[in-house]
Symmetry: C3
Subunit: 271 residues, 3 copies
């Protein structure tokens, strides 16, 4: 059986939506009645949506959220007997289905803001960890309670947590398998900021507005530079420098400096 | 003189004990009247105890604590004129005696929880830093006040602190040589959690219970994956994947998923 | 035009001063009326001052501060049309002028304490990030609000922030471009400690006294070991070990241990 094909006896549930408002895209994880638990179909939609968004140079920012009152529970475990039951299918599930979705978010050139309310555990937490900013409602809940399921976190999934929370907090989360509140998640490095539940939408919009007022190419180069500095030695080739400094001759760079010197608002075009 | 052999004029003091309760082992650092300062004999006992515990596949968790009301002061400095006085003996003391003890804890496959009350400084802090979780009494005290002794922290000892606290807090601790409280230690990343002194035993037991309710193989693979992701590039060989996904065909993995789907408690066997 | 030479139509403003008090040096960033914004001349003075301080083996500690009531705003943007306007000059400005100044601080063998009041943004924050300790007045303000200028942070400048705040907080700072207070800066890992404004001088002096009471060679080896462990694999060559343990045969090391055992204050000579 090709595990990428849903067999007829397992009705695929859940969906990932994307909506566009000018240069802002909003991605919604939706699996009603299942706390937005991520089905195989949803992981695959997430991959293809982020690949498309990455290629859209008109975009300036992406919001990731859950439908209803939750971000996302982990994987949809009712699918496990079908898709994830022996060594080859387990490995394919993690390396061939989840890892590409997380990588598509991680390598997206546009700034990505996660808006988190309700449950954000397991695969939900893994998705949020790949976003650039994580803004959470105070009552949101976090964790990766998979130790009771008898399995560890796969390497490509763990990387996102390690990057934010470091080795000690990541292991604590996995070894104890507790579900914890937003304040603890922030103390562990997992969240950018916490706001009252009623203020979440406004806080996310304010962050997005700030991001979109900046130069889009500058934002992309900042993301690229962070990735580059994390993943290798800090010596750069001439080609890498040329790439990282390519903004210097763009319209937006001249506009930004000239607007500052003239004490007016800059008008960025993305060029 | 072989520095591994205590000469007759230096009475060896202190001892490291280990007790077993089913699948839980408790390791106790004990040097009464010396705040459990670590003698050469104790470092060597710590190494051999952790090597034995690592090989015991029936174990599910290890607690490390100090005897009496302290975790451990640093090294037993009264031994320095004998064991650690010139360049070869200083290098052997750090690389040949302390480093193997710390490495034995760091590479132990079982989850290790440090229970910390009282003094946890120098070598005591280095031991605690190699454990997976660090649960401390509110009045515990931390630091590495060796700058007044005219010597730096050796590389293998510093790694544990760097991993938890990062370069800036590690250097602050070493350059200033202050002793600080549990709240500051937690803010620096050195502690998993702080509880009231009277609640320490219960908090450690609760953490151990949580850990032992999870699948033991999953816990070991999580520890292995964290180490692997910290120490190398994030590309894995087929062999490494086979190792990290070896759990997929085990009893415990099937039991965990089936118990979840049947809404019952899983019974993990470690197989 | 050689961008290192100020053309006659751009009056060079600002200056970096250094004062010596016995084994303590104080470096002051000063550009009155411009919040100590850093001109090209100041970056170059900073480089040469730190190169000289690095070579002075009598030194035990360095304080970096701003003149008046601010640490430093970023670069002096009024100089951009002259020094930083097209791809070659932008690259030279960042790689040839700023990067060497930051590297001179980062590689300085002596402990460096930043005393921060008022504005500490952009280039000011980059300088502070290269110091070993950062002690800030409660009302100080932080950020890198360059996204409105249409340009990203250059790699050598970003490294200092990444080392303290990690990838998520670094990107948040750059993508949103907010200016934030000292409490938020400390939560992000950017500060060692915060004190009331009136207590800043005393807190910096207390930290410097603590540092200077320790052995100077031990402090330098601690700095070296942190850098070494951050930048490479944790296997050391025999030569590296010989360097890191060279303190063992020094006067100060023997003095420190002997003073401890005799319960008296050590007298360190730096030898």
């Amino acid at each position: 059986m090709d595990v990428d094909q849903a067999p007829s006896d397992v009705p695929a549930t859940g969906q990932v939506f994307v909506e566009h408002h000018d240069s802002l895209a909003t991605v919604t994880l939706s699996n009603p009645g299942k706390l937005n638990a991520l089905s195989v179909a949803m992981w695959q939609q997430l991959t293809s949506i982020f690949q498309q968004l990455a290629a859209d140079r008109q975009l300036r920012c992406i919001i990731v959220q859950g439908g209803g009152n939750n971000f996302a529970a982990g994987a949809d475990i009712t699918e496990f007997p079908t898709y994830r039951h022996d060594e080859p299918s387990v490995m394919h599930y993690h390396n061939g289905i989840l890892a590409p979705a997380l990588a598509a978010i991680a390598t997206c050139p546009h700034p990505v803001v996660a808006a988190i309310r309700g449950v954000c555990v397991g695969g939900g937490l893994e998705i949020a960890s790949q976003c650039d900013l994580r803004i959470a409602a105070r009552t949101a809940r976090f964790g990766a309670p998979i130790n009771r399921l008898g399995f560890p976190m796969a390497p490509h999934e763990m990387q996102g947590l390690l990057r934010l929370a470091g080795p000690a907090a990541t292991l604590e989360i996995l070894l104890e398998g507790r579900v914890f509140d937003a304040a603890e998640a922030q103390a562990k490095g997992l969240l950018t900021r916490i706001v009252d539940d009623a203020a979440l939408d406004e806080a996310v919009e304010a962050s997005v507005r700030r991001i979109m007022r900046g130069g889009p190419l500058a934002a992309r180069i900042n993301k690229e530079t962070v990735r580059r500095l994390e993943s290798g030695p800090d010596t750069f080739t001439a080609d890498e420098y040329a790439t990282l400094f390519r903004y210097a001759s763009t319209h937006d760079h001249h506009e930004g400096v000239q607007a500052f010197l003239a004490d007016r608002d800059p008008q960025f075009s993305g060029e």
